[in-house]
Symmetry: C2
Subunit: 453 residues, 2 copies
């Protein structure tokens, strides 16, 4: 195995770089053709790795790529999930090298999708290739790579429901999360959910001269700012009535366990270039970003944003707002609570439109399962260290859907770092992480087959 991995290092990397050159931005219809090219590329590589039935499954949106290798019905079956679509790359001008021309600097691959999730799911294809090419697969394996994760996996739910038998498995293995550091491997035991909405505040029926009308007519930008500001109170809590009703509070023991994860506030602040952190009173930074729900404006626009000055009182102002959810909040309920509240607080001088974008359920993995044990031991085998259980702040909406539709749990065996700048300019993925991941994954199959025997 090790020999095979060493012998093919360069090829594995070259293939990933080829995949990263495809701008498969699922949110932007201008890239539709590229998204499909990425799907075709993944299909070919799955077949080349030795998997059977590699094919594209059409959806009303972007296609799902699927392949499988069933070696022995008596052995457990692993379903690998990943996504070949990426976040939009703008603002392009902030990239030190073009987002879709992968560049290697200081042992890191710089490109949109380098870590999220092309670099991570591709490790699985290469690990499977290596197992097939050497000692053989200890488990049956099914691979499903979708193209709509960054836009809410709108059509994967239907796909999964319609292919329950094909996707039947004992566990789902996903690499789309982070470890604490290359010195301190970790395994995520939970993820936050998501409710994403777009709001539009309309004042006058046209842009007005701010001199002629200013002071007498509600300015939708000022009003939007007031409405957004009112969504948090002084203690950093979200003011939407009922927002916290279903939030599962952790026990002191659970909080103490999470607090074991090494965290140096000064390093955190220095990395982000901020003088101070902020957030909900009574919780640590790690808790604020994992076990507590949030409300963030992801984008805002209105009025004149060009060069120079324009004295306009705009007709409209808009914002994209997302809320991270924790167990047991549900995106449907939260989106409804938000919409009701945001509409209710709008003054009579404006009208408000709320458009739900997408959502995802929060998720928690049981740490006492053989699946978690197999993953934990895989890190020990490859890294010589037991991984620390952590709770992630991000969302992989599909994980909760898998549990509902397929009745199986997911193992979040991610190899990224928080400093990989996911969703940001200059996203990168460490060569160490890429190769170490390919080395770690086969141990999971080996451990899992033994533990299930």
């Amino acid at each position: 195995m090790t020999t095979y991995l060493d012998a093919n290092k360069q090829r594995f990397l070259d293939e990933l770089l080829e995949l990263l050159r495809i701008p498969s931005v699922s949110a932007d219809s201008n890239f539709k053709g590229d998204v499909r090219r990425a799907a075709e590329f993944v299909k070919e590589k799955l077949a080349a790795a030795g998997l059977d039935n590699a094919s594209l499954y059409e959806t009303p949106g972007h296609p799902v790529v699927y392949a499988e290798k069933l070696v022995d019905a008596s052995r457990p079956t692993v379903l690998v999930y990943g996504h070949y679509d990426v976040q939009p790359a703008d603002p392009y001008e902030l990239w030190n090298s073009p987002p879709f021309e992968p560049t290697i600097r200081n042992e890191r691959i710089y490109a949109r999708g380098a870590c999220d999730d092309k670099g991570q799911f591709y490790m699985h294809i290469k690990a499977i290739e290596a197992m097939i090419a050497t000692d053989g697969l200890p488990c049956n394996v099914k691979v499903m790579i979708e193209g709509e994760e960054e836009v809410g996996s709108d059509h994967l739910g239907t796909f999964v429901a319609e292919h329950r038998d094909m996707l039947k498995a004992d566990v789902i293995l996903i690499s789309d999360t982070s470890i604490i550091s290359n010195e301190t491997p970790s395994l995520e035991t939970g993820l936050r959910g998501l409710s994403y909405v777009e709001v539009e505040v309309t004042g006058p029926n046209r842009d007005l001269h701010s001199g002629v009308y200013g002071g007498g007519v509600a300015n939708p930008v000022n009003v939007l700012c007031e409405m957004i500001a009112s969504l948090h109170d002084e203690s950093g809590r979200i003011t939407i009535p009922g927002f916290y009703d279903d939030v599962a509070d952790l026990s002191d023991a659970e909080r103490a366990e999470l607090a074991k994860a090494p965290f140096v506030l000064e390093d955190y602040k220095q990395d982000l270039g901020i003088n101070d952190v902020a957030g909900e009173m009574g919780y640590s930074t790690n808790e604020r970003t994992s076990i507590r729900p949030t409300l963030d404006v992801n984008g805002i626009w209105g009025g004149y944003t060009g060069e120079g000055a324009k004295t306009v009182l705009p007709s409209k102002a808009s914002a994209k707002i997302s809320m991270r959810l924790v167990p047991n909040q549900t995106p449907d309920e939260i989106t409804e609570l938000f919409t009701k509240h945001f509409t209710a607080i709008a003054p009579a001088s404006v009208s408000v439109k709320v458009t739900p974008h997408h959502g995802g359920l929060p998720y928690v993995t049981p740490v006492d399962s053989v699946e978690f044990e197999a993953a934990s031991k895989a890190f020990e085998d490859a890294w010589g260290k037991k991984p620390i259980p952590t709770r992630g702040g991000g969302s992989i909406p599909i994980v909760a859907l898998f549990e509902r539709e397929l009745g199986i749990k997911s193992i979040l065996m991610g190899f990224g770092l928080d400093s990989d700048a996911l969703h940001s300019p200059n996203e990168s993925y460490g060569l160490f992480n890429f190769y170490k991941g390919i080395e770690t994954i086969p141990y999971f199959y080996k451990n899992y087959a033994e533990l299930k025997r």
Copy 2:
């Protein structure tokens, strides 16, 4: 005179349309060449009208056009001021006809600058042409048309200071304001000043994943919204310390005089398509838009504003904010108060940058002067009605500068309507107003010459 005006109606209009086809947007450097073309056009038309010494005066920005006709040293001298530059035309998609392809619909000229100020200053050139071509000029006349009014007239101050003798006059005549309606002519007796700033709030040194960091790191968009919201209190008053210290409060008598201007709240709301007006408690809509200072966001931007959803916690958020000032506030003081306050209220989790754009002093015209009487009587002569004195909400910063530098007052004899959509898509100017203005202006010269004799 009347015969001459009738005989040349169509040519007057054709010339204006030609001027309106030049996209002289002073705020956007992409239009620099067009701004100059507009200046050249105005110079030629001033010469063609029979004025002497028509020429361009270079400035570090856009040139000033000047011409004069000195008929008799014993007669009073009128200095006409206007501006050939226009506001940016975007959003272009909201125009029913292209902003720089003037179109005439229902007796109105639709084009950027149709009223502000090309349509209005051009009336003066044609009125002067008519006087010269018929009974001759009752007064000496000097015409100064600048190209930077929409960006704060940055260089006109120096120009005026350096050409005091050339610009020496008894009164300044400006058509860059509105009348109440075509049935109710009015004369503006005051204007609001302006302080225009741009603010930038910076949080983390890069865009972050809102899942990984959301809840633990201050979001600059949320923070900017909170800061902007805090600039007004519940009663609609601006919270900047010292902001109202110099505001000249009107006497009940003065407020009663202003209240005579016809105003129908229902029509106002219907015209703007709003369910309710808004503003500072204790003041009428007309007062809120004329004798009271304001703070409006003219533009805001930050984070992801493209198609679809991006779960980003942005690094920066920005806004363009303008404050309308009333006597005796000064832009320098107010800009300083704003900057100090806005910086002071920024939480430790972000950094703030405030960049002053430009400003202008508020202005009041004495209604008991012969200049005002000459203008008031000119309306009576041409419209058969005494104009109502009003206070304008807009700003012509230069008016206060003229008083300081040249020691003379300005008469604001505007012929536009608030519904002309200045600074908005589908700006227009009525043919009636254009021709009626050309007819009214010569009466001012006649009245003024007689009153000064």
